[in-house]
Symmetry: D4
Subunit: 221 residues, 8 copies
């Protein structure tokens, strides 16, 4: 593992938990927090037993989110800038929360705006000012993936779209939503892989924290 | 050809012009109008030279639309009910107009509402009352195909979605838009094949004209 | 949840049960029936344990269909118009019955015509008059999805096609049937997503109940 | 080239004309007819200029079909057995006629039954006795490819299905029809590649001529 | 169920066991054998528990093949003609044996030639005379699906190819083998769906039994 | 057209030239420059004849790039921040230059770093400091699309990846490169549609100009 | 089984364990080692219970690798030449080790170079001399599959690429990596099927052992 | 351009002619031959006009192959080792000859074995000894791509498979052949992209020339 990555990029260490045994996740977390007691370490895509093992091992020092399947150990970094994570329904929440936790661990504030699907436009419009106030926006959507196109016409901040595998029939595990986002008629929308809340969070946090640091009078790292 | 179709279904005779020679299109139109001088005959997907041949042959008796690639010969049927055909941009107009002409030839009024893409929501909302007044709605869209999902949350009438092959990159000739429409989070949206303005027009006209006839005190056929 | 939806569109409240815990399904049903004691609430795609939980909680007040995986609580709405739901084999019955229940909950009569596949044409022709008498037709089919094309040449009413994931080998979970329906040579066939009996039911009910209300001398809502 | 093939399999020599220059097609035909003056030689998928070159070179000795893009030089073989080649519309005729000519050149009688699509069932039923009288049936169809499923429930003879690339939108150059045929609910339907009238003709002729020879009191070769 | 099918087509009654409960399979078998005590009834794709239920219920009257997942109850029909079922490896045996049993139940002799893959050509050539003696050939293959192309150049009888889902990596559940068979350079190869040993058996038996009946001096049915 | 868009989002007016006649492109450019004489108007994906028409009409006032197929009329906006546009080979240059021009028209500086493919790593490493100095990076690549993954491990700035349709064989018009970018092992890479240099330019410019304005002591718009 | 294969090709006997029962794997291994006590026999893709059965049966005579799912019984062949097996992360190790064991069993030395992904280029460059010293190189990678392209520009030896099914979202079980490798901009890269470490090992060992034998003064077999 | 590549890898300079103007191809060839008068320079995928321009410019110094679309200028390198390039039909010849020329330009002898498709096995077996004598084999095939599987069971040398886009119907521009080759049941077959005769030639030449140099008593480079 490359423990110098944070100093090179400004990002924390991250453990990709998928396919890893609980003992592996715990031991890597232990080693990384021992090396970097001053900053947070993030684990994503942890299985149920790995989440339980972390709760047992780290107790109050770990923030475990069973919906997002994330674990964070150690103190949060100072936050600069703000990212709005927007999603349509409760089914998209796991991905949206993985994204929000990733944003916070990468040094930006985050705000989750849920239940604002395009088929209920009035709810989306009611939250618009809040979304417009962010330095970067992440739009999370499954099914037909229309949310980023509608948002893209309403906000001027950088917008990252995350397709989710929520759907049935010919949604093809999120491919329909991904295609919609790649073909968005709103210019400037960029896209990450299906269910990749982590990747969108890294991208949005990098944007927001640089803007936030400059606004706060700190130099961009 | 089955010239008794109209009496069986209430639909006019239709010629699928794709792949047909100009002389073929003209001669079939001639025969059908001779058999049915009292009603309109519709030709769709006519090539440029077929359109010109029809103009030369039928003169003022033919209504030729080079954008929609349609020809109508003979008197329009009495119209019952109304269909709103809604589309996003100028690129979708050929399909939207093929649809509108098909609706009219199948015995319903039609209204074309163009330039109301989801990335410019205020334009769509400005036309909403007009759309809501229709007995059936056809939503035509390429790119990410989000229009039916947004409309589906705003109108209660039956809604038919038409994906178009408008786009570039991984739009896959309209497949991205088709998938979005099949996966629409708005319930009750039904879909036709890519660029099939004709099929959507037939479906919408059947709905609207039955409703219109009943409202006008005529029995449904 | 948007509990005002019924008054806006004429549709009942619906709970998409897939991925929801039994307790969640029960509690949402309780809240919605408390808010709307005068009308039916529909839950679709409920898992086995959710179906059992509903039976225990609501007893005789709930209509639970384990094949269709639907639950309806509260009084049926007055029905206007009639929808024929047609399918080929016993394997398609779950989708066909989800559709029929949806139609009834959305305010139209329904009639299920099963075991009329295209490879046994005489059975289909024997039921034709019954199907032709409906205000809207839903054709449910897996495998090669040919039923809507054959029906489309025989009936004049609006026809919605539902592909099912019934099949094996290269049926690709219903995609083969979906493609067949999109490419139907019968004009005016519209299509919904694979196994989406609910969506087809909503679309067909909206058509039939408007026609039925007008025929009954009530204004279309 | 393997000029001994006929004696080994009972099939004639065949030239695949696609991608070949007119002079190449003519010279191979000349060589094969010189080697086998007593039997027909077949060329398929000939381009327009190759067809013209064959007409000029062989005159009355060649049977040139510009629609099927086939050329036959030399005497037809004695025919045993009969193949019905059935198709829906005029657009499928080129493939159906390539198939019929292939059948005849491989030593069986053939009969072309056109304009019997599944959306006009009465026309198909009117020709049923004629089709049932054949020793093998080839069903040619584009669009949704439903014809073999309907025929498969009506005839007992071996049935080969040929999907054609006739269609638009998401017909995917005949793939939709191919998938429908592979997933046919009628048992015993076998399928060849898209537009492969030649392959279906070879398969059907081999079946029919063996049956015909036996019926005629000649031994199967 | 259509119990008159046998008299119409010469085929036995068949139960598609996939997705059916053991009790359902047993009860349909009971009813059909009661109606037709003089002929065999075939059930395919039976699950393990359905196979056990049939063994318990029918005892010595049933022939149960756990590898092929087939059950046959009642006396075999008199066999006419012979079908060679050829496959490459032990993994293809379930499909090959489903095919062979289907052939026998449809009234033709069958012969299983296994372990003759194209990468071990000498084994295939050693069995060639046996294969050439058949009235129809079925070639069963997974992986790259090359067996029908090699066989197609060696035998003159009608040849039906069955792709199997045997493979790994990008075999795509038999699609790679299916595509290879559709694109075979050997003319006259026809294809059925992936793992559809039943369909290939029906097609091959219809060919072989007609030829066999004629050779035996009986008229073709 | 929505001429107030610039004031709402900080972006210029843009004309999508694909499918538009030369006269249409010229007349829209004229109208927009008349309405906004103080800022640049951008046209993308212009055909050869549209580019020539712009040169004739606007002369020295228009900057026409035949490789990128872009036209810019009017004064460039003041630039804040800097975007590095990186690509592998000369074949990717049209997309890279469309991107660079888009960046400049949207108010950021741009720098084109070409001929740095991953199979010639030393050339890429030689330009690394220059790339690292940018506020946002766009990586343009066809073929296997590996450039963003390699760059993603070397730079800390926000990185937008653009797949191009450069390739042959099974590159599937840029889909192979798109998939590689979506699956990049480097975190934080976001992706736009194939050949969508314009979309990447909009996204990168929005990021860079906000950072640049703040660094320059101007407030973010 | 063809036990003469080794003498014909220089390769050992190999058992494809996937889908085989533990007892089958053990008994085939026993028979082959009895026939060939002087050389190693390799079993690949063994399930957990098959691995345990081999350990119990063969004890110290078997080399069982639970990660690679391989079993080797009998003495290794003398090794000639050397193959470097290179992979990015721990997730690719099972495929990489199956490859390395295959190489050794086919008579070449092997060296596993792990944890050298393209997003951490310095680690790859640090191992470059070691990789360059090999007679053949196998590059194993999932996700975006970029490793062979980067390696291809750095080494001159024959290079075989193995895509793995490691990934998530639209990695499509290794298809994204496979496509990247087929489209590599580095010339001379050849590719095997997804997760086919065995196939790559066979190919690389054949190359390296021939080179090694010649270098050692032995004739190529 | 990186003119030091040859000394680093032993490969010549190569120009990818696709998409390049005739003048560009000529001028790059001129520069490279001026820099390296002692060795051959290879241009692939040249358009007709580029081939003519090379003939005019270089005359007898250039070897122009209009079928393979290759140009070689300068003296051939000394050849070590031998590669057999095997293909089925005349349609595969352009790819096979591009491969053979590439092999020769990369320093190995080459031998073209054409017209040996798997449906005419006797022709293939007649050439077997010649193929077995080579140090590496390239198998070129379109349609069902079965040739490498058959060859793989017959030869022990390293075998590279090249799918070609030769075919029709659902050959999907060579994808069917590519899939067959990736799924070959013969172990050790490696594959390149569709129509990539150049890539296969580079891979095979690297293998053969190293073996040839060692056999000739020269050290491997």
């Amino acid at each position: 593992m490359d423990t110098a990555r944070a100093s090179r990029t400004g990002d924390p260490e991250v453990i990709f938990g998928q396919g890893k045994q609980p003992a592996q996740v715990v031991s890597i977390l232990q080693r990384l927090t021992a090396e970097h007691p001053d900053r947070a370490v993030l684990a994503t895509r942890c299985a149920d037993d790995a989440l339980r093992a972390c709760t047992e091992e780290f107790g109050g020092r770990a923030q475990v989110d069973p919906l997002a399947r994330t674990v964070v150990v150690g103190p949060w970094p100072t936050a600069f800038g703000r990212v709005a994570v927007v999603c349509a329904g409760t089914s998209d929440l796991p991905v949206a929360r993985e994204c929000a936790t990733t944003v916070r661990a990468h040094g930006a504030e985050t705000e989750l705006v849920a239940d604002v699907g395009v088929a209920g436009l009035h709810r989306l419009l009611a939250r618009l000012e809040q979304i417009r106030a962010a330095d970067a926006v992440v739009a999370v959507a499954g099914m037909e993936g229309a949310l980023p196109s509608v948002l893209g016409g309403l906000v001027a901040a950088p917008l990252v779209a995350v397709p989710t595998s929520v759907g049935y029939g010919l949604s093809m595990d999120g491919t329909a939503a991904l295609l919609a986002m790649l073909n968005s008629c709103a210019p400037g929308v960029t896209v990450v892989n299906v269910d990749n809340g982590y990747g969108a969070g890294v991208a949005a946090a990098r944007i927001a924290r640089t803007i936030g640091r400059l606004r706060a009078g700190e130099g961009a790292r």
